[in-house]
């Protein structure tokens, strides 16, 4: 079972979603920022236009109001008015203007002709009636009032800061003051101030009408930063933009206040004073009186459409992502389902069931190619395995036959030891360790006339069944040809002639054939090309039996073999062997060699025949180690212990 995390569908979904998500976020983010930028640009334009419209509306009224004291100042300078004319004029202009609530002509003390000290007639509206008072110290020390002192000192027409009406503190007033001049002693001197005061109620209304979006609003601050209008009533005349900054510990508001009082205009981002909401604030100066109009646009409302759009885009993208997941899952399943089936089929095939059907693919894509290849592979594999099974069966049969042949071959060798349990004058032991393939080594021994021990060891050239058959023939011929009356060389010559006849396969066999006279230890022997046996005595050196130089049996027809003789002493041992011992190889491809054999034999002087055979086999195997045995190892030992006693 494949873990979900490793599933192709999951991997596809994750990687495609990640990549498409990153692409989406990038496009979405840059689009959002750009939209916001455009939106803010438009807002700036809108706010600017709205501010301009509002400021214009305000300034039209202010300018209209300004004309009255300006005209009065002009009159005062260019015509000498009597007190009565002056009062008439004041009454008329106050009555004729909707906006103006009162007008004053204030002279510096002693400067109005005919009046000693202060002279400042003031006509004002009071509940629809016009009233006239003369401003006088100490109650109305106009000379130290801002509306009088400041324009007079600065010799400049100007609007005052807003102030509360003394009689009605629900009304906020502002005064426009114009210095007026008279010629005195040839020079033009400022003799007083004409001022008109207006109720700012209309201004509040205009600002109140100025709104942007749902809860956006406008406010007005004076030259000193005092709130003249604001939706929060507590702010009006009580807070300045700077006290608000202090209250909410917001330096950006203070910076805004300073910029506004410098007469700048800009769109800035702020925290709203009360609700702590993010707002965009556009501010613009009223050039007439150095006040400043601010328009507050709540950012959430400003961004409402964009935010809604953003939500939709996010929603659509979410839906898109879901569709994408479904599509990818279906596609991935379409790919993986046949693959899963293929995998299941493969598992079946692996467990040996070649009959399982490879799933049919309708598509013509890579997966169907894979299935087709797979099917072809299955068929090929099946054919191969069928072939293999046939071959194996044949091989097994052959091997079993070979095994039988080998067993037959081995069966003809004497294998029961001790072979002569009732004979103590000699000891005999032999063993063949066969190589994997059937070889052609053999040995044999038998007694004739109770006192002659015939023995033979041989090695047929080649391997396999022909060699084993040849060996069987050779061994049988030797034994069959042996007679006490025949000299050994003639027996071998006879065997040689027999084997040479019709020896089409040109096989041959090396043979060492000998006879011990158990009475006296005399040994007759013929060596037909075999490894020379060793004589191991209790003392003295390890020596090879003398060479006779005869060739192997089965090579040359009618060959004359030499008979040789040696004499054993008591306890001498004859060690016969085949080249399986001396030519045994180890992992380093080194041969066991006669040298090693001689050293080994030197250590085995006291061993019995059985011990020597077994030790020699062990020794050679130890030397070979893990290297495969390539030839039969035959070890054959005869120990002449003592002369046979006469019967």
């Amino acid at each position: 079972m494949i873990h979900l995390r490793n599933s192709l569908a999951v991997k596809l979904v994750l990687s495609i979603l990640t990549v498409s998500g990153i692409i989406f976020l990038f496009i979405f983010g840059s689009n959002f920022l750009r939209s916001q930028e455009i939106l803010l640009k438009n807002v700036r334009e809108n706010a600017k236009n709205l501010s301009l419209a509002t400021v214009n509306k305000i300034e039209i009224t202010l300018n209209k109001v300004e004309q009255i004291p300006k005209t009065l100042a002009y009159h005062l300078e260019h015509s000498s008015l009597t007190e009565k004319e002056m009062l008439n004029l004041l009454t008329n202009v106050t009555a004729s203007s909707d906006e103006i609530t009162g007008v004053t002509i204030a002279f510096d003390p002693d400067l109005f002709p005919g009046v000693k000290g202060e002279f400042a007639p003031y006509v004002y509206k009071n509940n629809g009636n016009l009233k006239t008072v003369y401003l006088r110290s100490p109650e109305n020390n106009y000379q130290i009032k801002d509306w009088y002192l400041i324009p007079k000192e600065l010799q400049k027409s100007m609007w005052s800061e807003p102030y509360y009406n003394v009689d009605d503190d629900s009304k906020i007033l502002a005064t426009f003051s114009v210095p007026f001049y008279m010629k005195k002693n040839g020079s033009r001197i400022c003799v007083g101030i004409v001022s008109a005061e207006i109720d700012l109620d209309w201004l509040k209304q205009i600002v109140k009408m100025t709104t942007l979006y749902k809860t956006g609003y406008a406010f007005l601050i004076s030259h000193n930063g005092t709130f003249v209008t604001h939706p929060t009533k507590d702010f009006i005349m009580n807070e300045t933009i700077f006290s608000i900054a202090e209250k909410y510990k917001d330096q950006t508001i203070r910076e805004f206040g300073k910029a506004a009082l410098r007469g700048e205009s800009n769109l800035i981002k702020l925290k709203e004073f009360l609700k702590k909401k993010d707002i965009q604030l556009y501010y613009m100066p009223l050039l007439t009186n150095d006040w400043s109009l601010g328009i507050v646009i709540p950012e959430d409302e400003l961004m409402e459409d964009l935010n809604a759009l953003t939500k939709y885009i996010l929603l659509y993208n979410l839906l898109g992502a879901i569709l994408l997941i479904i599509a990818i899952t279906i596609l991935a399943n379409r790919i993986t389902r046949p693959l899963t089936k293929l995998a299941a089929a493969t598992d079946e095939i692996a467990s040996g069931n070649f009959d399982v059907a490879i799933p049919e693919m309708n598509s013509k894509d890579e997966v169907s190619h894979l299935a087709a290849s797979f099917n072809f592979m299955k068929i090929s594999l099946r054919q191969y395995i069928d072939n293999l099974m046939e071959t194996t069966a044949a091989k097994q049969k052959m091997e079993s036959e070979l095994k039988i042949a080998h067993e037959i071959q081995m069966g003809i060798l004497p294998k029961i030891f001790p072979a002569f349990p009732n004979r103590s004058e000699f000891d005999i032991y032999a063993a063949i360790v066969p190589a994997k393939e059937v070889g052609g080594d053999f040995y044999d021994f038998f007694l004739l006339e109770n006192s002659f021990l015939y023995f033979t060891i041989g090695d047929v050239s080649g391997k396999g069944v022909p060699a084993s058959l040849f060996m069987a023939v050779a061994k049988t011929l030797i034994k069959a040809s042996t007679s006490i009356d025949y000299p050994l060389n003639e027996i071998i010559a006879k065997v040689n002639n027999d084997l040479c006849t019709e020896n089409d396969s040109s096989m041959f066999v090396t043979i060492f054939f000998g006879r011990i006279n158990l009475r006296n230890g005399e040994v007759d022997f013929v060596n037909a090309g075999h490894n020379l046996p060793y004589i191991v005595s209790l003392n003295g050196e390890i020596k090879k039996i003398e060479k006779t130089g005869d060739i192997a049996v089965g090579v040359i027809d009618n060959y004359q073999y030499q008979l040789a003789k040696i004499k054993l002493v008591e306890n001498d041992t004859l060690f016969l062997y085949t080249d399986g011992i001396t030519e045994a190889q180890n992992n380093l491809d080194k041969l066991y060699s006669e040298n090693r054999l001689e050293i080994f034999l030197d250590s085995q002087r006291l061993s019995s025949a059985k011990e020597l055979v077994q030790n020699s086999v062990k020794e050679v195997k130890q030397f070979s180690g893990a290297a495969p045995q390539s030839d039969d190892i035959t070890s054959f030992v005869i120990k002449w212990i003592k002369p046979m006693e006469n019967d």
Partner: protein
């Protein structure tokens, strides 16, 4: 059992019948300006029952620009008032036997400020400059300062606003640290925008708000006077330690008297009062220091504001001396 019930009923009836009757000495008190944080200690002592605790039944009169507290004291329209030391000394000079029974503001809150960048960086730069000053007692220190440094300035009257300074009619204006100085901040001036001249730096420190009674009232009601000052000082202690509560009460009084109550402004005022109460030469809060007294007398005599010799121990009764 029935008897006991009747006795309890009568006692309960008696208690509920006269709960409003206030025990203790009644006295009237008038501050010399509107009920703002400048007088928070009095408002607190009244509102938190400190006066009552001392057995005083105080009537808080509302001060303002048209009520001279010292005139009201002389005319016995109030028993106790707050006034500036310099003002009180001038009234005493005119044979009104008033005495100081406690000094609150130890350091001059009055100071002169100029805009940085107007070329006024040191006291000598004031020479030839236009200086706005309020009337009367507000001019004593500035004029003494100008004399001391031999400065000729052009004097301008200062109204209730600082607009002549803001609009650059004058170069220098007078402000109270706890009041107009903060108003300037609220018009966009940072402390770093202004050069400040404090009178205590020129050996012209005038203790300002002090508590005054007529000598004859004091002689009859010494304990009452001492209790009033003690309760008032407790009121101030409480006010400085409980800013929010105090500002709420101050706001209540300002609104009642129909004045705008700007929270940050009152907070600033309260905090400055705490600093101004610290005696300039060491000593306890509430004590008039003889050295400050002598300095003010000397300056007033020099300027001709007072003619007589006024002796410290005649003029001042320490609130800490036992009756």
């Amino acid at each position: 059992m029935k008897k006991i019930f009747i006795i309890f009923s009568i006692a309960f009836f008696a208690l509920t019948l006269f709960p409003q009757q206030k025990k203790g000495t009644s006295l009237r008190f008038l501050p010399h300006w509107i009920p703002q944080a400048q007088f928070a200690g009095f408002i607190i002592a009244y509102e938190k029952g400190f006066y009552q605790k001392y057995g005083l039944n105080v009537e808080l009169l509302t001060g303002g620009p048209n009520r001279s507290s010292l005139d009201w004291l002389a005319e016995k329209k109030t028993d106790i008032c707050v006034a500036w030391l310099s003002s009180a000394l001038q009234v005493r000079d005119k044979n009104v036997k008033l005495i100081n029974i406690g000094q609150l503001i130890q350091r001059s809150a009055l100071m002169l400020v100029a805009k940085k960048g107007s070329g006024i960086d040191s006291i000598n730069d004031l020479n030839g400059k236009k200086v706005a000053m309020w009337q009367k007692d507000f001019q004593i220190q500035p004029k003494a300062l100008f004399n001391k440094f031999n400065l000729k300035v052009i004097e301008f009257p200062l109204s209730e606003t600082q607009n002549i300074f803001i609009r650059d009619v004058v170069d220098v204006t007078s402000v109270m640290l706890y009041n107009e100085f903060h108003l300037l901040k609220n018009c966009g001036y940072d402390s770093t925008d202004l050069t400040i001249f404090r009178f205590e730096d020129y050996d012209l420190n005038f203790p300002e708000d002090g508590i005054y009674v007529l000598e004859e009232y004091y002689n009859k009601n010494e304990k009452v006077c001492k209790d009033f000052v003690a309760a008032t000082l407790e009121g101030w202690q409480y006010a400085f330690g409980n800013e929010d509560e105090t500002l709420q009460l101050v706001k209540k009084y300002l609104t009642k008297a129909k004045y705008a109550a700007n929270e940050m402004h009152q907070q600033w005022m309260l905090r400055q009062m705490n600093k101004l109460f610290i005696p300039s030469v060491g000593g306890k809060r509430g004590e008039l220091q003889e050295s400050d007294f002598s300095n003010v007398v000397k300056t007033l005599r020099k300027s001709g504001n007072i003619k007589k010799i006024i002796v410290f121990k005649d003029f001042y009764r320490s609130p800490y001396d036992s009756p």
